[in-house]
Amino acid sequence: MVQGTAMERRGDGTWLLVTPGPLDVGAIEASLRDPLAGGICVFVGTTRQVTGSKVTEELRYEAFSEMALAEMGRLAREAQERWPVLRSALHHRTGTVAVEEASVAVGVSTPHRSEAFEACRFLIDRLKEVVPVWKKEVFADGRTEWVQPGR
């Protein structure tokens, strides 16, 4: 799988990143600080070793990076329209992501905590529906399989 290079976009209090490197949740949280914020909610998706009877060795992610950034930007704007989002961040890793490592991290800051949870949940749910990223499971027995929800 091609590793690719990082693509990044910042502006309007939004930090978008598609990168083959590890995700930095501390930096994401720092980027969300805002004098009008009372709450920050961050969700991080990590590679899980066991799903039912299957043992995952690692995940390999492929992204259509330019469009992934564009879709993530659209989601950030949609969240801003629905909740009083002050800042947001959507980061996705590409390439091989080992067990326990982070493939995705999204976060928002808002004046109060309810809306932080709601907007963060919205971003990760929608990201999984529309952002053009695909994962291939690599199982402990050596088999590999593209994950294709609904297919």
Binding site: E62, V133, W134, Q148, R151
Partner: protein, 85 residues
């Protein structure tokens, strides 16, 4: 006579693996719509016909649909069900 720029088709994930192609160029005159492009591609690559009902097309980085028109120079991406996160 100057040739029109082609429609550039981008493939990912399972379609890239099974066709062996990441980019395909189509002569734009023959594919006025996404549907026409998918038909042409499906004839050349059976896996694209097989996946057609699950493909969400995107034109120039935005989701579109089969009825969407294609213009010379457009980039058409074939987005199979995504599984990021």
């Amino acid at each position: 006579m100057v040739a029109s720029p082609p429609v550039t088709v981008r493939l990912f994930s399972v379609l890239k693996d099974r066709t062996g192609m990441a980019v395909i160029e189509l002569e734009s005159g023959g594919v006025p719509t996404v549907a026409a492009a998918l038909t042409v591609l499906g004839e050349r690559y059976p896996v694209i016909a097989e996946y057609r009902r699950w493909i969400r097309p995107a034109i120039n980085l935005s989701y579109a649909d089969e009825a969407s028109p294609l213009s010379p120079g457009d980039e058409l991406a074939l987005i199979t069900p995504v599984s990021g996160g």
